[in-house]
Amino acid sequence: MMPPSAATGSSPSSSPAVEVNDLTVAYREKPVLWDVDLTVRSGALTAIVGPNGAGKTTLIKAILGMVPVAAGHVRILGRSLKESRGAVAYVPQRGSVDWDFPTSVEDVVLMGTYARLGWIRRPGAEERKAAGRALEKVGMDAFSDRQISQLSGGQQQRVFLARALVQEARIYLMDEPFQGVDARTERAIVDVLRELRSRGDTVVCVHHALQTVPEYFDDVALLNVRKIVSGPVSRVFTEENLRLAYGGRVPFLQGLMSGAVGAAEEGRTT
């Protein structure tokens, strides 16, 4: 359906999907991200985890060139953002738009084709077909004509995911796709992530639910303004590192972590 090499910017496998060097972002005086280095492995599912205000969303936006960067630089598939723009798809937080906007599900998904179309040209039959396929992948094909205000939160999230899929990118940057969704949507998203990985695509998710990190993701980056640690989940997703990232809020961690890092801990001790 969508050949992995369909998007522009297919690159030698040697270059990482995303490479962030010495990145510092500051809104006014206070740094939101401080001297962050991060290498995102190509073809892997990576979670960005950290407490509120850790700069997770800002990191995604900085990779996309959407916030002014005080220092550092970002390479995508070994090239500048401008050169590999077409290889990157963005799934913003669901709450960032007005879902009462007068438009249909299909219309929103079609927005994913706008970059390919360029200025002025409108989506046609081919784009509609692609939108239909993307909606099918997230189990929303029956909703194509639905007004978006009639969707549940989980359905909204799947529409956003479909809009990114239709971009046929190589790298997907998602801001909390699992936030507040129903079980069915969660499964649908996980399935899509795995399919993307099987095609060799890369996914980076800002993620809140610590207990699902080992199950859903290959790699994890722990962030709290500075990067604490990043790497394969089995190696770096440890209680010790989480303590470092989340600071003093240990009681909150213990509840969540008891079963969660089990897998990771096992991997470490054996």
Partner: protein, 393 residues
């Protein structure tokens, strides 16, 4: 003048026809462009632009000594645009929030405009006469040339709107996503805002700076009530704005002496009021009916559940009646038990047996099972009774 007279005038009276055409065109353009302002929650921006345009009108006259509409409109557009840039600049570079920035620019520019206008009025020449109609608008001052200007420039604005439709939709719905696609959203924003400025200044002579923003907001707000499609909304807002323009201008132009701005805005407001009230789905009436229906259904289902609970409790065969009094006790303050029983009976879900007895029919049992058995299973361990039977223990 009677209605027949107005219609007659619209067809045969040259002046009236000119005025109606101009007002209709400006209403259509402002209405269509206003949809984007409303959807982007920038309704106040229209107000700021129109008020900010006033000093531009005065200065254009001072510098050129001309009262020609294109000159004044150009001055108005420049001032309106500068005011908009100030708002955007304040929001970007200070901590003043957008609504405050809009309020500041609106009042400061309007104040300056009034000072300039007052100064101009004191000039000894007679050339300035009528500049103050820009405050509340006077459709009667529309000349053929003015109307051609409104129609021509307005068509151009609508053409650009159609051309960049996709980009404007992207900007209005999800600007950040647009940026991630590589579109220069700031440019799209400037283009759309410029079109809005154009749409607004075209109406200033007819509607006036004080009320022009209503022509931006009202048709869009009314149109939104009727449709969930952006394209339909824009077309409908254009039509409503156009009709409001024609109606208002004619009432004003036929010797009532009322400035045109208020009459046009009243017409547009009537559309808003009607739309708010009677539009399907989003209208207040439809919403009230929907809520009443839901309330009734909940009450009916609860009585059905109570009957089902009694039947389960006593291991009844279908058709075994229970006392209406028991149901009222079980309702525990919930009203409309009798009415609910009547509804159940009408639907064939329950039947009255004797004067005071009620029993589920087979259809009623099936309906109760689909409604309440899942609940019973879910709560099985703690409470074997259906959830609908509140107060039963």
């Amino acid at each position: 003048m009677s209605d027949g007279g107005l219609l007659h005038g619209l067809i045969f009276d040259y002046t009236l026809r000119t005025v109606a055409m101009g007002a209709g065109a400006l209403g259509a353009v402002a209405g269509a462009l206003g949809c984007f302002a409303v959807l982007r929650r920038q309704s106040l921006l229209g107000d700021a632009i129109s008020h900010a345009a006033l000093p531009g009108i005065g200065l254009a006259f001072l510098f050129t000594g001309s009262r020609a509409t294109p000159v004044l409109v150009l001055g108005a557009a420049l001032a309106g645009w500068v005011g908009t840039l100030f708002v955007l600049g304040i929001v970007r570079h200070s901590r003043i929030p957008e609504d405050s920035a809009l309020g500041i620019i609106l009042s400061v520019f309007f104040g300056i405009g009034l000072v300039i206008l007052t100064y101009v009025q004191r000039q000894p020449t007679a050339a300035q006469a009528g500049l103050d109609t820009f405050l509340f608008g006077q459709a009667a001052t529309l000349m053929t040339g003015d109307v051609l200007l409104i129609v021509g420039v307005g068509m151009g604005a609508l053409l650009l709107l159609a051309l960049f439709w996709k980009e404007f939709k992207l900007l209005s719905f999800d600007r950040e996503f647009g940026r991630s696609l590589g579109f220069e959203m700031t440019r799209i924003d400037i283009l759309l805002t410029t079109l809005l400025v154009v749409g607004i200044v075209l109406g200033l002579q007819t509607v006036g700076v004080v009320l022009m923003s209503a022509m931006v907001v009202a048709p869009a707000a009314a149109a939104r009530q009727w449709t969930d499609s952006l394209s339909l909304m824009v077309v409908l807002a254009g039509v409503l704005g156009g009709v409001a323009g024609v109606v208002g201008a004619m009432i004003s132009a036929t010797g009532s002496g009322i400035p045109t701005g208020p009459t046009i805005v009243l017409a547009a407001s009537a559309f808003v009021a009607i739309s708010l009230l009677v539009a399907p789905n989003r209208g207040l009436l439809a919403g009230g009916l929907r809520r009443a229906r839901v309330r009734r259904n909940v009450r009916v289902d609860a009585v059905l559940g109570d009957l089902y609970a009694l039947a389960l409790q006593h291991g009844d065969p279908v058709g075994q009646p229970h006392d209406q009094g028991a149901l009222e006790v079980m309702a525990d303050g919930r009203t409309g038990v009798v009415r609910s029983l009547e509804v159940l009976s009408e639907k064939g879900l329950a039947q009255q047996i004797g004067s005071n007895g009620w029993a589920l029919t087979e259809a009623g049992v099936r309906r109760a099972q689909t409604l309440y058995d899942p609940l019973v299973e879910a709560a099985d361990a703690e409470d074997p009774l259906p959830g609908g039977g509140e107060g039963v223990s």
